[in-house]
C-alpha cells in the first residue's frame, strides 16, 4: 500500500517554516544532512512574519551594562521561576551570536549612531535589548532565513499539511500528510523529525494568531508519546485591537509602549501606576515625571509601568474594563500621539500607522488607539532536552513556540524571536549530528493505512457523520473563551473540560464535502481535532494548578502559592486519556542559583 504514496527519504524532516523551522533546517544542512522542510502555507508566510518588536539579545550596543546574566535573570523573573534554567541560560548566552549570524546572512537591523545594531527597550527587560527592524522585525527575519534556505538548496514542500507522525518501535520514523493543492497523500521517511509547527492560538476567538496556529505539533506529539509541560500558561497579549470587530484581536505591538505609549482609562487616568506588583516595585518609575524622563532617555530613570510584563498589563486592562472604566469599545486607550511627534511615530512604528489607518480609520499620530487582551502565545509546549531539543520520543525534536520550558509562566516580549533562532539552531545541529550514518527507517504499513483511512474518513457519507468543522471550531472557541479564558476558576474549568470532551466525541463525526483539492472544510477537520486535544491539555493543567502565577489567573486562588513555585505540570496521553503528573522544575546549577539570589537581594534593597 505504501508504495502507491508519493514517498521521500530524507535525513532530517522539519515541520514548519517559521523562524524555528528555517533556523533548524539551515543548521541541520550545515551538518551535512539532507533536509526537507514542510509547511502548511507558502514559504515566507509563517506566523513569524507578524513579529513586530524585535529580537532580545544582550548585545549591549545601547546599554553596555547588558550581559547574558542580566538577560537570564529577566527571563527567569518574567517566567515566575518556572523556566527551565538551562534553557534560559543557553538562550541568554547564545542569542547575541544568533542575531549577528542573522546580520551576516543579510538582515538589516536599525542602527545606533556608532553604526552598530540598535536595541530598543521592552517590557520586563532591564536594559535596551531588542534588535529590531522598525516594527517589521519578523518580516526581515523570515525573509533572511528564507533566502538563506533557498541559497543552501534546502527542499521545501509548500502548502503541505502534516497530520501524522510515524514511529518504528519507540523512535520516530517520519511523517505523513497531504498536499493542499491536490489533496494527494505524501510520506516522508526520516530518522529525525523536528517539530517547529508554532502555537495553538486559533482555539481562542480573540487571537492575534494566523490560521496555521492549530496545535498540530502539540497534538501529534501527545499522540506519539511525547509530553507537554506548562500548558496552563497561555499568553494573552495586553494590546490587541478591539474595534472594528472584524479585526478584534489583531496585535498592536508592545513597541508602542516601548516608544513611550501610555495606557489610559475612560476617565483619562494613567492606571498602570496602580497595578505594580510588589516584585517589580523597585524597578518601575515611581511617578509620571520619572516615566517621562525615562522616555526622554534619562539613564537614571526607571521605565514606565506600561512596560511591566504582559500578564500584569493584560490583567490591569481587564480590571479597568470590569470596574466600568473601559474605553468606548471595551478596552483601554493606548496613546502615543501625545507622547511623540508624528514624524517619530512614522519612523518607529510605520506598520502600526498603516494598520490603524487602513483597518480602523484611525491616525495614531493624532488620536489614541483602543486595545484589549488577545490570545498571543503558548508558553507551554513539548518537553525537550534543554541542550538538544530532543523530546522523550527518540529522533523527535521540537523548537520554537511548540516547545516548552524556556518561558515558564510568562514570556517576555522579544524572547520569542531569540528562542526561534537559538533553539531552532540547536535542534538543527543536534538532529543533523544524530543522523550522521543513520539508516532511513522502515515504515510500518499499518500506521500508513490508518493514516490514509483517517484522511478519507470525513468524506464518509454515513448520515451519522454530519458535524460541520466550522461550527465545531466556533464552538471550541466559545468554550475556550468562556471557560478556559484569562480569568479562571475550578467550576468554569470543570465545565470547560466536560464541554471539550463532548466536542472530542463529536469531532469523530466531522464531515467534509466535495473533493480534496484545496478544501478548507476538509483541512479544518484535522485542525479542529488537534485543537480540541490541545485545548483539553490546557484546561486540565489550568484546573490542576490551584494558584495564580504569570499568565495563569485563578479567581479562586488569586495568589502565587509557594508550594507550586517549582512544580511543572506534565500532560501525557495514557490509553487515549489525558494524564497529568506533577514534576519538579529542574534546579538551576549553583552559579545560577547564586545569581538569582543576589538579584532578588538587590531588588529588596532597592525597595
Amino acid at each position: 500500500m505504501t508504495q502507491d504514496i508519493e514517498t521521500h527519504e530524507t535525513d532530517v524532516l522539519v515541520i514548519g517554516a517559521g523562524g524555528a523551522g528555517l533556523s533548524a533546517a539551515i543548521s541541520a544542512a550545515e551538518q551535512g544532512a539532507d533536509v526537507a522542510v514542510v509547511c502548511k502555507s507558502l514559504l515566507g508566510k509563517a506566523h513569524t512574519v507578524m513579529a513586530e518588536g524585535g529580537i532580545a539579545a544582550s548585545l549591549g550596543n545601547v546599554e553596555p551594562a547588558d550581559d547574558w546574566q542580566a538577560h537570564f535573570l529577566d527571563t527567569m523573573k518574567g517566567g515566575w521561576g518556572l523556566n527551565d534554567p538551562t534553557m534560559a541560560e543557553i538562550h541568554a548566552k547564545e542569542s547575541p551570536e544568533r542575531v549577528r549570524t542573522l546580520q551576516e546572512w543579510g538582515a538589516i537591523f536599525d542602527r545606533t549612531e556608532d553604526g552598530d545594531i540598535h536595541q530598543r527597550p521592552f517590557g520586563g527587560h532591564r536594559h535596551d535589548r531588542l534588535a529590531h527592524v522598525g516594527d517589521r522585525t519578523g518580516l526581515e527575519l523570515i525573509r533572511t532565513l528564507q533566502d538563506k534556505a533557498v541559497a543552501e538548496g534546502i527542499d521545501v514542500y509548500q502548502e503541505c499539511y502534516v497530520t501524522n507522525l510515524l514511529q518504528t518501535d519507540d523512535a520516530v520514523a517520519g511523517a505523513c500528510g497531504f498536499w493542499r493543492q491536490d489533496g494527494a497523500p505524501i510520506l516522508f521517511r526520516a530518522p529525525a523529525v523536528i517539530l517547529a509547527s508554532g502555537g495553538l492560538g486559533k482555539m481562542y476567538r480573540i487571537s492575534s494568531n494566523s490560521w496555521e496556529y492549530t496545535a498540530d505539533g502539540h497534538a501529534m506529539a501527545l499522540r506519539n508519546g511525547a509530553e507537554l509541560i506548562d500548558m496552563a500558561f497561555v499568553q494573552f497579549h495586553p494590546t490587541g485591537m478591539v474595534w472594528p470587530k472584524s479585526v478584534q484581536g489583531t496585535l498592536v505591538t508592545e513597541g508602542v509602549r516601548g516608544e513611550g505609549g501610555i495606557l489610559l482609562n475612560a476617565d483619562g487616568e494613567r492606571f498602570m501606576f496602580d497595578y505594580v506588583p510588589t516584585e517589580y516595585e523597585g524597578s518601575v518609575a515611581a511617578d509620571e515625571a520619572e516615566a517621562d524622563r525615562w522616555v526622554a532617555g534619562d539613564e537614571d530613570a526607571r521605565p514606565p509601568p506600561e512596560l511591566l510584563t504582559r500578564d500584569v498589563v493584560a490583567r490591569a486592562i481587564l480590571n479597568e474594563v470590569a470596574e466600568g472604566r473601559g474605553s468606548e469599545h471595551g478596552g483601554a486607550y493606548l496613546d502615543i500621539a501625545n507622547q511623540r511627534s508624528a514624524d517619530y511615530i512614522m519612523q518607529k512604528l510605520p506598520a502600526m500607522v498603516h494598520q490603524f489607518r487602513e483597518l480602523a480609520e484611525i491616525d495614531i499620530t493624532e488620536e489614541p488607539m483602543q486595545v484589549a487582551p488577545t490570545c498571543h502565545y503558548m508558553m507551554g509546549g513539548i518537553r525537550v532536552d534543554p541542550e538538544t531539543q530532543e523530546t522523550s520520543v527518540p529522533g523527535l525534536y521540537a523548537s520554537g513556540e511548540v516547545a516548552g520550558g524556556l518561558h515558564g509562566a510568562n514570556r517576555l516580549g522579544g524572547n520569542s524571536l531569540s528562542d526561534l533562532l537559538v533553539f531552532g539552531n540547536r535542534a538543527g545541529v543536534a538532529a543533523g549530528e544524530a543522523v550522521t550514518g543513520a539508516e532511513t527507517p522502515q515504515v510500518d504499513d499499518s500506521q500508513v493505512e490508518r493514516y490514509l483511512a483517517g484522511l478519507e474518513a470525513p468524506f464518509d457519507t454515513d448520515p451519522d457523520r454530519g458535524v460541520d468543522p466550522f461550527d465545531l471550531h466556533a464552538e471550541l472557541q466559545a468554550v475556550m473563551e468562556e471557560y478556559v479564558g484569562i480569568m479562571r476558576d475550578e467550576d468554569r474549568l470543570s465545565t470547560g473540560i466536560e464541554r471539550l470532551e463532548s466536542l472530542q466525541d463529536r469531532v469523530e463525526n466531522v464531515r467534509a464535502t466535495g473533493a480534496r483539492t484545496y478544501n478548507p472544510g476538509w483541512e479544518k477537520c484535522f485542525a479542529v481535532e488537534n485543537m480540541i486535544l490541545a485545548g483539553l491539555a490546557v484546561a486540565h493543567a489550568a484546573r490542576a494548578r490551584e494558584e495564580s502565577r504569570g499568565a495563569h489567573s485563578r479567581v479562586d486562588f488569586p495568589d502565587p502559592d509557594e508550594d507550586w513555585g517549582n512544580i511543572e505540570l506534565t500532560v501525557s496521553m495514557r490509553d487515549g486519556e489525558i494524564h497529568l503528573d506533577r514534576d519538579a522544575v529542574p534546579e538551576p546549577r549553583d552559579e545560577l542559583q547564586e545569581m538569582l539570589a543576589a538579584d532578588a537581594g538587590l531588588e529588596a534593597e532597592a525597595e
Binding site: M50, G106, G115, K245, L359, T513
Partner: protein, 273 residues
C-alpha cells in the same frame, strides 16, 4: 464563465449595522452585500453570487470567511495574518489586484455586487487560489546576499533607509499580477517581474553586499521588458515606488554597463548607479 448560480432575494435591511455576530440567522436582519466569487479551476469556472451580512469594519476577506463558514466550506482562498503583513490573500476585487484583508466592504457601492477573482496572471488551482510557484523559481535565479569576507557590518541608519523601501515587500505578487508584460504578454520566460527587481534592489542597497547582478538584470530578469507604465507601483500595498526606485535604476545600470561606454566609465568612477 459568468453564470450566476446562487441568488437570494433578501432585501438589504434599512437600519444600518447590527452589533450581533454575523451568522446565517442574522443575514436577514443585517445589511447585506453581494459578492460574486470565482468558483472553479484553470479550465472551468464561473462567478457565483453570495449575499453576506455586513458588520462595521468588515473587509473582503471577512466576507469570504463568512461564506466558507456558512455556505461553502470548500471555497478556497489563501490567507494568514489578516492584517496586511504576510501578503497571502492577494485577489482581484472588481478587477483591481488587492489584498482581501485590507479592503473594507464600506469602500464599495452596496448596491453593486463586488466581484472577487483570482490573480489572472497565474494558473488557477481552485477558486481564489492561483499557482504562484513560478515566482519561487524566478527567485532562485538571483544571486543571494554576498558580503565581503572581511565585512565588518558597521553601517548607519541612512544606509538602512536606502534599502528599507525594497525590504518592506511582503511578496503578495500583486505587482507580478498587474504587470502587463506578464499578464497580457505572458513573458514569464523572459521577464522576472517587478517583485524580483525589488528584491535585487534590496540586495544592491544592502551596505555590505558586493555582488554585481547587472548581467542577471539584463539577461535573466529582462529588465528591458518593463516599459514604465507604473501599474506595479500603483497596486503595491506597501507603497513601494517599484518602477521609479527599483526598476528604472536597474535599467540605467544595464544601459551603462552594456550600451554606453562613456556613462559606463563615469558610473564606474562614481561607484553609483
Amino acid at each position: 464563465m459568468s453564470t450566476e448560480t446562487t441568488q437570494t432575494t433578501d432585501e438589504p435591511a434599512a437600519t444600518g449595522v447590527e452589533e450581533s455576530q454575523a451568522t446565517a440567522e442574522d443575514a436577514v436582519s443585517a445589511t447585506t452585500m453581494t459578492l460574486e466569487i470565482y468558483r472553479g479551476d484553470d479550465d472551468v469556472g464561473e462567478l457565483v453570487e453570495y449575499d453576506v451580512p455586513v458588520e462595521e469594519g468588515m473587509v473582503v476577506l471577512d466576507a469570504i470567511h463568512w461564506i466558507q463558514a456558512n455556505e461553502e466550506p470548500e471555497l478556497a482562498v489563501r490567507w494568514n495574518c489578516k492584517s496586511g503583513r504576510c501578503g497571502s490573500c492577494s485577489v482581484e476585487i472588481d478587477g483591481m489586484p488587492s489584498l482581501a484583508c485590507m479592503k473594507r466592504l464600506s469602500e464599495y457601492d452596496p448596491e453593486t455586487p463586488i466581484t472577487v477573482t483570482p490573480m489572472a496572471t497565474f494558473p488557477v488551482v481552485k477558486d481564489l487560489v492561483p499557482d504562484v510557484s513560478w515566482n519561487y523559481e524566478v527567485n532562485e535565479t538571483i544571486e543571494p546576499f554576498s558580503p565581503a569576507e572581511d565585512a565588518d557590518f558597521e553601517f548607519y541608519q541612512e544606509d538602512v533607509e536606502r534599502a528599507r523601501e525594497f525590504r518592506k515587500c511582503i511578496e503578495c505578487f500583486l505587482c507580478q499580477d498587474v504587470c502587463h508584460v506578464l499578464r497580457e504578454h505572458d513573458k514569464k520566460e523572459s521577464y522576472a517581474g517587478p517583485r524580483y527587481l525589488v528584491r535585487s534592489a534590496g540586495l544592491h542597497f544592502h551596505p555590505e553586499d558586493t555582488a554585481d547582478r547587472t548581467e542577471w538584470m539584463k539577461d535573466d530578469a529582462g529588465v528591458g521588458f518593463c516599459n514604465i507604465t507604473r501599474c506595479c507601483s500603483d497596486v503595491c500595498p506597501e507603497d513601494i515606488e517599484i518602477t521609479d526606485n527599483a526598476i528604472i535604476p536597474q535599467k540605467e545600470r544595464v544601459v551603462d554597463e552594456y550600451y554606453d561606454p562613456l556613462r559606463r566609465l563615469r558610473s564606474w568612477l562614481s561607484g553609483l548607479w
